[in-house]
Every structure is written in structure tokens, then in C-alpha cells.
Amino acid sequence: MLIEVKDLAVHFRTDKGVIKAVDGVSFQIPHGKTLCLVGESGCGKSVTSMAILGLVDHPGEVVAGEIEFDGRNILECTEKEMRKVRGADISMIFQDAMTSLNPCFTVDFQIKEVLKLHQNLKKKALHAKAIEALEMVAIPSPEKRLKEYPFKMSGGMRQRVMIAVAMACQPKLLIADEPTTALDVTIQAQVLELMNQLKKDRNTSILFITHDLAVVSEMADHVAVMYTGRIVEKADCISLFRKPMHPYTEGLLRSLPSENKGRRKSKLHSIEGSVPSLSALPQGCTFWPRCPYAEEICKKEQPLLKECESGHFVACFKTEGVI
């Protein structure tokens, strides 16, 4: 295992009370594999990734759990030690390629920044590495591109530069926070392919955060579905898509538009209701108000994540056979 997150809990202390953005999340990612973290906006996906990087800002706080990365618990690292981990061992790419490169500096500066911070290189070697990083993400004429400012580049190109920056130090874990949401579909496919290629070549593990199930099927080895700060279902990609067990996952998959099923007039399925506010979660299973199978017990008790089939974890009373 490269990274093992155990019972991670991140709480935000606000005027309205404590908000449990991440509430007991556990997952593992082996070397060279991709875990997709799926869920609606505000379910704690991004907070989880920030916690892994040790970048949860005030008023947020990691209150419990362990994150074992490469054999050590990085939650216990000091800020100085974490700075050495960030960028070198774990790095991240973001949703909005338009704003995630510094508009004031050339590509050259931004790639060399991360290299300088983590590797002691001479000027020539540094330059060679920067060129290599751009070649790796298939940017044509890297020498020329290095001297350019981000505003001269298209969205797809910037996303490539960002991946180049993130991969420059050959990190063991790459966190990708909805990296393709802001791109159009053809560019999206290129970027995903690029990431899969890098994963293969470098044996990099990827934590891929998204709400796009089509992307999940493209990328994932394993999938974890999050709802209101908890993982409700966790399985390898194929069995999750073949046989979703949690009502929420089932709803998500049914909400996908499909080309051959049903007639043209059939309405797109949607899950009833909306995501509850994290400051006012319902008692019991947080999904029951929207769940078609909800029973009395769901309103009182919280189901725990249990292994229903080998490698397939679900937190639901229905699959447990209680209801």
C-alpha cells in the first residue's frame, strides 16, 4: 500500500456549530493504482485531499484518524517536514486550469520553482528537467513554450503544464481534483489518457476526485462513493458499475443518460430531494430522506461500512439484510 487513510475526520468549527466535513473516511491506494472518489459537491472529497496534503485551513481541523503514507503517519509531521513531502512525494492538480497557473510568471519559472524547492540541481540539469517535464505531457516545442506566460495558452495546454509541474519531481501520489471538469470533451479525453500513461510509465498512484461517472469508468481501479462526509460504498471499478449496492450509488448510475436504453421521450432519472446541509444532517443514515427503500431503522441508526462481497464494502441496512 502506498497510502492508507484510516478513520479520517475533519471538522470545521463555525458559528453554527461543528460541521463534520469528513467523518470517518478510510481507504487505501496501492502503488500504481487509481482510486476515484465520487460524490456530489460538498460531500468532503476536496477536504479529504487537502487533509492528505496537510493543508486544511482554519477553521477546519483534522480531529481524528491516521494517514499512513509510505510507511509513516503524515498527520504527525511538522509543517517543515510536510513542505518536503508536498510537491516531491504527493502533488496535486486542480479543476480550473485557467487560474491554477500564476499569471505573473512564465511556464519556465513555475516548473523550475517546484524543482528548485525539492531537488538540488545545477542550472543546466534544471533546464533539462523542465524540458523533459513538458515533453512528458506531450507539449510541442517545449523550448518555446517554456518562455511563455500562461495567458497565451489554451485551457488544455495549461492543464498539461499543470500536470507537468505536478509530475516534475516524480511524486508517488498524484491527487487530481476534478482535473477535467473545466475542459471540453475532446481535450478531456486527451488529458485522461495522458494521466493513465503517466500512471503506467511511472507507477504513480492517483487519487482522482470527480463527480463524473463516465470519467470514473475510464480511470478507476477502485471507486469510493462519498455522501455527506462518509464513504457509503467502496469497491473495484467493475463490480461497482455492474452491481451497485448502496441506494445512492444505484441512483447515481441510473441518473446517467444512456443512448440505447429506453425511448427518446424517457425522462432522465434523478435522485429525489437534495443533499442535506452538513450543519443539519438527518438522524440515522444521512441518505434516508432521499432513499426509496428507507425503513424505520434507517432513521434511527447509522449503518456502518461492511464488506458484503469480497472487496465490496457498503454502508446500508438493506444490503446487510436487516431490512
Binding site: R86, G87, M92, Q95, S100, N102, Y149
Partner: protein, 290 residues
């Protein structure tokens, strides 16, 4: 696109604004005058010649070409005094603006970046400073420190600190949210690196514009303080101080008040025009036009 091309692009946008170019022209001439004062001025600024007291400018029938803009009550050449005065006025502007930036930028940056208690304390102090009218505050500071040109500059600089740090705080707050800052954090940058290398260069635009405007107001305020006797002391050829000297002779020798006043006006006008031009040129949207 390299740095040079960006600069050229900037020059292109700036020069499209004719008023700003005019302002730049005024300031360049003023700078040259200040640098070359020793060669331009026919007399020393404090050289007195009682025999030619209150002589009118050259184009007046009583005037003489030797004293181009006339003389003052001590027979000092007004032209030479104004020429040397440009040195003083420009250094007042530069020093007080520079000093206010030196203090104001770190204050604003730290308040915005660290937020919370730091922000609260710093900004409440700034609020208090802002509640006092600027000239009144400058007068109070000079009164405490004692009247001199140097103290007037310090006073003006202190008066500017609140507006500069507010401005910086605002821009840093806006930039801080952007993903490139988080990206740089994720790459392992330290706080200081984030503040001064990653964020601050993105906030420079409004700071430069505001400083240019401040430069103009600093010249006026210094003149005002000198006028009240709290700034430059006689016989320093400071423009504001020259206005005071001319007061008693307002009817007898109006040129004594007219020319220093004109000099102040042109300087301020020039800097304001440049400020406007910079504001347009630094606004990314303006590049799309034409």
C-alpha cells in the same frame, strides 16, 4: 512572449492614451530640470540681491531678461528658486511614497495573508488612522516631531500608510483565493515565499497606480505643510514655502505667488494623468480594445 514583448505591449496601450503621454512629458521635463538644475538655473536659489527686489518677469516693461520670472522680496531669482524647488518637491514625493510603501505593503500583506486576530488588530488601527483627516494628522505629527522638511515627509508617509495597506490587503485577499496559490502551497512553498514571490507580484498593478496618485498628493500636502510653516523652513526654495513668502506681496508682486503655484499645479497634473494612464494600461480588459 517574453518580458520585453509584454513591456512593449504595455507601452502600446499606455501611449494610446494621449493625456497620459502628456503627463509623462511633464514629469520627464521636470525630472530633467531637477537633475540639471545646476546648469539651468542662472543663480543660486538663496543668492540675494537687494538692489533688484520685487522685479517683475522679463516680459513686463520693468523686467529684465536676467531675471526671467522676476525676483522676490529679497531679490532672489524666482526662476532659479523654482528650478531648484523641483528637486525638493520630487524627492518629497519619492521619499514619502517610498516610505509609506515600505510600511504599508507588509502591513496589508500580513493582515490579509494571516487573517484572524492579526488582521483584526491591524485593520482596527488603520480604521482609527483613517478616521482622522489627513492634513490634521500630518499637522499633529509634524507638531510632535518639530517643523522641518524631513519631518513633513515622515508625516505625509504616515498619512498614506492606511490607504496603501488597505489597498494591498484587498488585492492580496482576492489573490489568495486563487488556485495558483494553493498549487504553489501544494508544491511545497513556505509562507514567506507564497507572500512575496507568488502573491505580491500579482497585486502590483493597483499599488503602482495608487502610488503615482499619492505622489501627486504628497507634493500638494508638503506644499500645504510648508505653507503653514510646518514643512520646509526659509530660505529653502520649496514651492509651498515660496507661496507663504509671497503672501504679503500678493497685490504688489503677483508673480511671486503665480509661478510656484503653477509649478505645483503642473507636477500634480502630470502625475495624475500618468496615474490614469497606468490604471488603463494595467487593466487586462483594456488590452482587448483596438
Amino acid at each position: 512572449m517574453g518580458k520585453k514583448e509584454i513591456f512593449l505591449e504595455f507601452c502600446k496601450v499606455f501611449s494610446r492614451n494621449k493625456a497620459a503621454l502628456f503627463g509623462l512629458g511633464i514629469i520627464v521635463v521636470l525630472l530633467l530640470v531637477a537633475i540639471l538644475a545646476d546648469f539651468i538655473a542662472p543663480f543660486q536659489p538663496i543668492e540675494q540681491n537687494i538692489s533688484v527686489r520685487l522685479m517683475p518677469p522679463a516680459w513686463n516693461e520693468k523686467g529684465s531678461l536676467t531675471y526671467l520670472l522676476g525676483t522676490d522680496d529679497f531679490g532672489r531669482d524666482l526662476f532659479s528658486r523654482i528650478v531648484y524647488g523641483s528637486r525638493i518637491s520630487l524627492s518629497i514625493g519619492a521619499i514619502s511614497v517610498g516610505f509609506s510603501l515600505m510600511i504599508g505593503i507588509p502591513l496589508g500583506v500580513f493582515a490579509a495573508y494571516f487573517g484572524g486576530v492579526v488582521d483584526n488588530i491591524l485593520m482596527r488601527v488603520i480604521d482609527i488612522m483613517m478616521a482622522i483627516p489627513s492634513l490634521l494628522m500630518a499637522i499633529v505629527i509634524v507638531t510632535i516631531l518639530g517643523p522641518s522638511l524631513q519631518n513633513a515627509m515622515i508625516a505625509i508617509a504616515i498619512v498614506y500608510i492606511p490607504s496603501i495597506s488597505r489597498l494591498v490587503r484587498g488585492s492580496v485577499l482576492a489573490e489568495k483565493q486563487k488556485e495558483y496559490v494553493i498549487a504553489s502551497r501544494v508544491n511545497g512553498s513556505s509562507n514567506l515565499r507564497l507572500i512575496f514571490i507568488v502573491i505580491l507580484p500579482n497585486c502590483l498593478g493597483p499599488i503602482i497606480v495608487q502610488s503615482t496618485m499619492n505622489f501627486a498628493v504628497a507634493v500638494v500636502e508638503a506644499a500645504g505643510l510648508s505653507f503653514l510653516g510646518l514643512g520646509a523652513q526659509p530660505p529653502t526654495p520649496e514651492w509651498g514655502a515660496m507661496l507663504v513668502d509671497s503672501f504679503e506681496y500678493l497685490l504688489k508682486a503677483p508673480w511671486m505667488i503665480g509661478f510656484p503655484g503653477l509649478a505645483i499645479f503642473l507636477t500634480v497634473f502630470g502625475f495624475n494623468l500618468i496615474g490614469d494612464g497606468l490604471m488603463d494600461a494595467m487593466d487586462p480588459k483594456s488590452k482587448e480594445k483596438g
